[in-house]
């Protein structure tokens, strides 16, 4: 019995380790404790808060878009299911505020036109070099997949936005570099981007620093994973389906296995053993009690 228990513990241990180690390996950079927030998009049933995403877009547009691009996002995404779900008209109106280069036309000339739903988000700078040069040598990263490109994801972005502090007295900072509690190395070239009331929400939400950070972080998680909601929905259905299927398959398997070798055979087998044991104990000719 003890041997069996021992084996079982060993098995559980190895499975546990195999799963735990990859996790702990990549969480090494998560040692800094980010600010704890309840995100509506986390968990098995996580969905985005539409109004928060819409506000988040507003923050992106009014605050971040001056330097940061989201070049993998299209304007049509704004009206798609599972996102901020602006109406088609609203999304069209948003797109039309931007100009994109098109062409060549029949004269071979490139021309500018208002953006359409099918266009990708217009970037603030024509290329990485231009944006780097305009920002003192620090490239403001494209934010399309930012939430997936940083250890800590949403928590990291949220904490970073709220993590600006006075540098400790013995901490040396160059000009144009700021102190941030959550930035790896604590030095960041982006000045504090948000403050209370930096945007005025059209839906009347109080634009505190925390609210702004939360909204824009939600928006950035959505831009990183625009299908997150359908992913969660499908995942839930799939797991339920699998559980039912597993139960049915297990029952079928038990049924099939019970047919193996028919009862007679098993009894005969056990009887053989009985014979053997009895012979050992009584030293008799086993044939006598057939």
């Amino acid at each position: 019995m003890l041997v069996h228990l021992n084996k079982l513990i060993n098995k559980i241990l190895i499975i546990f380790l195999m799963f735990v180690i990859p996790f702990s390996v990549f969480s090494e950079e998560k040692n800094i404790n980010f600010i704890e927030t309840d995100w509506s998009f986390e968990g098995l049933f996580g969905t985005f808060d539409r109004t928060s995403l819409q506000r988040g877009y507003q923050v992106y547009n009014e605050v971040c878009a001056g330097c940061h691009s989201v070049k993998h996002l299209s304007y049509r995404n704004l009206s798609e299911k599972g996102g901020p779900e602006f109406s088609i008209e609203e999304a069209k109106a948003i797109a039309s505020q931007f100009e994109v280069e098109d062409g060549p036309n029949s004269d071979g000339e490139m021309f500018m036109r208002a953006a359409r739903l099918s266009d990708k988000f217009v970037s603030p700078y024509p290329n990485v070099e231009a944006s780097t040069a305009a920002n003192d040598g620090a490239y403001p990263p494209d934010m399309s997949v930012l939430a997936k490109a940083r250890a800590g994801g949403a928590d990291y972005i949220y904490s970073l936005l709220l993590g600006y502090e006075e540098a400790p007295t013995n901490f040396e900072l160059d000009d144009g570099v700021y102190y941030n509690k959550y930035m790896p190395g604590n030095k960041i070239k982006m000045s504090e981007p948000i403050s209370d009331g930096i945007v005025e929400y059209s839906d009347g939400t109080n634009a505190t620093k925390e609210q702004i950070a939360k909204d824009v972080t939600s928006f950035l998680v959505w831009t990183s994973e625009p299908h997150l909601e359908s992913q969660h929905r499908m995942g839930f259905k799939v797991i339920i389906y699998l559980i039912i299927l597993i139960i049915l398959v297990y029952m079928s398997k038990q049924k099939v296995w019970s047919q193996f070798g028919s009862k007679n055979l098993e009894e005969e087998e056990v009887f053989d053993k009985v014979e053997k044991v009895v012979t050992e104990y009584e030293g008799e000719d086993p044939k006598t009690f057939k």
């Binding site: 390996v25 997936k148 490109a149 797991i239 193996f260 070798g261």
Partner: protein, 428 residues
């Protein structure tokens, strides 16, 4: 192989089968006798076949949308994730599928180590299996380069640079591999081409692996030969098929849980940053399944030495059937080997952990000790144990140890009562 000759029932079947014996093959696969005492560790062969097929199918679809060019690769992945119908699902299945494939293959390999499945007469199965494993690592490594993120680029740079450690011709080999003087577009293109090719080679080897398995038949947890076509074996279909499907579904549940609820947890966040040759990531780490070898590579102070030891760590396994001189297969009857085995499991997992840590201080010391044990285990302990270990007595047949199982005693008693009448209690 089943001994009796199979003759199809229908005339058409006979006509066809005498020209191409596909029906005989199908019959053989169904009737293939498997030991009835196989436990769930034996279901991973089927699971691995499933993994390979999943990777090939999802990969095929991804290849329809992916662009193998340094300027477009990253963008085309985002295109797949955003604009292709269910592209996110296909890509996440493919990316997590690689991790699951390795998880299953490691269980499969360690199962073989525990139960001595590599021993005579199954050496060829073992060696083909290792060739599959090596090709898997190459395929996975090249696949990881394709998204052209930071880890793709720098991982490729580090690994291809290993070949420059070869004396005299190393530099030329690296240039040849790169198709230039650094990891660049030609490198990406050839990696894509090879990443597409290798899975089909793996598929071919899998067929050989199974063929080689069907000659001697399965090993089993007791590790002694079974009598074929006795009540010790059961036909593969439907018994093993049902059991394999059940285990496979459990595996798929874990797999899909990762896909839907934690698709990026096994990857590295830096790979969502587009490759940039001017910025080196703080820590360059390979995917988790390559970490033990990465730790061995860095444990050796010289570059060439590290490369030699890393490859030796893989190729030493090829010699395993001859390094392990013990005739008893299953670790169940080898008390000392069993302890060494579990320690090896621990050491390999430890190496994986250390591979992700910077090679300094305590991490470096530990990885050297772990590397030392890894080689001592195979080169010293196994050959010695074969000579000096006192193994437990082996049972006569695979049915014997069944008596030890809880519940069997009751059955035993019941049967005894039935045949013996009231006196049954006397020989308890």
């Amino acid at each position: 192989m089943s001994e009796e000759k199979y003759i199809p029932k229908s005339k058409l079947g006979q006509w066809f089968d005498s020209r191409l014996p596909l029906l005989t093959l199908s019959h053989h696969l169904q009737a293939y006798p498997t030991p009835k005492n196989l436990n769930y560790w034996w279901t991973f062969g089927g699971i691995l076949t499933f993994c390979l097929i999943t990777q090939i199918i999802t990969g095929l679809v991804l290849a329809m949308h992916y662009v193998a060019h340094v300027d477009h690769a990253f963008e085309s992945i985002e295109h797949i994730m955003r604009d292709v119908n269910y592209g996110w699902l296909i890509r996440y299945v493919h990316a997590n599928g690689a991790s699951m494939f390795f998880l299953a293959v490691y269980i499969h390999i360690f199962r073989s180590l525990y139960y001595g499945s590599y021993k005579s007469p199954r050496e060829v199965i073992w060696i083909i299996g290792l060739l599959i494993y090596i090709l898997m690592m190459a395929t996975a490594f090249m696949g990881y380069v394709l998204p052209w993120g930071q880890m793709s680029f720098w991982g490729a740079t580090v690994i291809t640079n290993l070949f420059s450690a070869i004396p005299f011709i190393g530099e030329s080999i690296t240039t040849w591999l790169w198709g230039g003087y650094s990891v660049d577009n030609p490198t990406l293109n050839r990696f894509y081409s090879l990443h597409y090719l290798l899975p089909f080679l793996i598929f071919g080897l899998v067929i050989l692996h199974i063929w080689a398995l069907h000659v001697p038949g399965n090993n089993n947890p007791v590790g002694i030969d079974v009598k074929k076509n006795s009540n010790e074996t059961m036909p593969f279909h439907p018994y093993m098929v049902m059991k394999d499907i059940f285990a496979l579904l459990l595996f798929i549940t874990v797999f899909l849980w990762f896909v839907f609820f934690a698709p990026n947890v096994l990857g590295h966040p830096d790979n969502y940053i587009e490759a940039n040759r001017l910025v080196t990531p703080a820590h360059i780490v390979p995917e988790w399944y390559l970490l033990p070898f990465y730790a061995i590579l860095r444990a050796i102070p010289s570059k060439l030495g590290g490369v030699i030891f890393m490859f030796a760590a893989i190729f030493i396994l090829m010699l395993l059937p001859w390094l392990d001189t013990c005739k008893v297969r299953s670790a169940t009857f080898r008390p000392i080997y069993k302890k060494c085995f579990w320690f090896l499991v621990f050491v390999v997992i430890l190496l994986g952990y250390l591979g992700a840590k910077p090679p300094e201080g305590i991490y470096l010391i530990l990885s050297r000790l772990a590397t030392a044990y890894y080689f001592i285990h195979f080169l010293v302990i196994l050959p010695t144990l074969g000579r000096y270990e006192k193994t437990d007595p082996l049972p006569q047949s695979i049915s014997d140890p069944v008596l030890d199982k809880p519940g069997m005693l009751d059955k035993f008693k019941k049967a005894a009562v039935k045949y013996e009448g009231e006196n049954a209690s006397s020989f308890k």
